[in-house]
Symmetry: C2
């Protein structure tokens, strides 16, 4: 599981790990409608509200949350099916979702679980990254900043923390974490 | 701490990590006499029996053992002085020594401690590595083999296990372990 505020670079790290075939990128499901260019099964599993609710009722979701009237979640099968064939899974997930995954009782998931929090090197750098193309209103950036700072308070709940430097350095550390955890005796026994 | 039988390649891994300035290589002390070419303070700290005993009495040794009438050990200062200035330390140590270090009550050492067991990929490969230049007597190799197999039974006592493949692959994993452990939250808090 990889968490961190917008602007931390966590999504780039997760996507690259999957591109390099080091892990399967866990695709979330959502009830929101696809945006232009979004592909079902690649960006999200797009579900109807009824189907999403059925998954909740069946206990098929590893974690889920409602954001602005839309539901988001992770199918347990999306993770467990990969682990079952020996493929590592990387999940780009927020702090609340990570908490739900931690409380999961599935032995396979518990054994596999590693959590990393990625954060920007400084408030100034975070502000600059959240500023985007520089066309957003001051209040919008201020709100993003507040949300990011609030999310960042949760880093001590994680096993590992990565303070973002450059893309290459960050990825080297991130991949090192994957390689190292594959040597862990508790998982080999 | 890195343990493993002769022929596992652990010493090469430790030395390279130190050569690349990723860690300080912990120099053991011993009462045996220097062999040709061995340098005091580089290969070992060569000590008189009296000085060695004084270190034991003062509780200055992190671990020590007697092998064939000679004493070997690790000075606590050799490790703690480096950790105090933020330098990681790598120790090439046997299973018994590792056990003594694990039971050390020094908070700085306990926080820093990571243990890795390195083992050869197969019995056949181990036998071939222990065979050396092929000039040793059958019984000598058989004894080395028994010792190595006995030592290898201890891998489940370690946090990480590396099964040796090639020098480059092994070193990549070993270095990954160092990089990953530097991200560990329990050590950053």
């Amino acid at each position: 599981m990889v968490s961190g505020p917008s602007g931390s670079g966590k999504t780039t790290l997760c996507r690259r790990l999957a591109d390099e075939k080091e892990a399967h990128y866990s695709i979330s499901c959502t009830t929101r409608l696809p945006r232009d260019g979004e592909i079902d099964g690649k960006d999200y599993h797009f579900l109807s509200r009824k189907d999403f609710q059925s998954h909740i009722d069946a206990g098929a979701l590893l974690e889920h949350a409602k954001v602005h009237e839309n539901h988001y979640g992770t199918l347990k099968s999306e993770v467990v099916n990969q682990l079952a064939v020996g493929t590592d899974v990387v999940m780009d997930i927020d702090v609340q979702g990570a908490n739900q995954v931690r409380s999961c009782s599935d032995a396979q998931i518990k054994t596999a679980l590693i959590d990393l929090f990625v954060m920007p090197p400084s408030k100034e750098e975070l502000r600059s990254r959240l500023n985007g193309r520089g066309t957003d209103a001051e209040e919008v950036i201020a709100l993003r900043m507040r949300n990011a700072l609030e999310e960042m308070e949760h880093w001590p709940e994680y096993s590992y923390r990565l303070i973002s430097e450059t893309r290459e350095k960050d990825y080297l550390k991130f991949k090192s974490l994957m390689l190292a955890e594959r040597l862990r005796v508790s998982r080999l026994k």
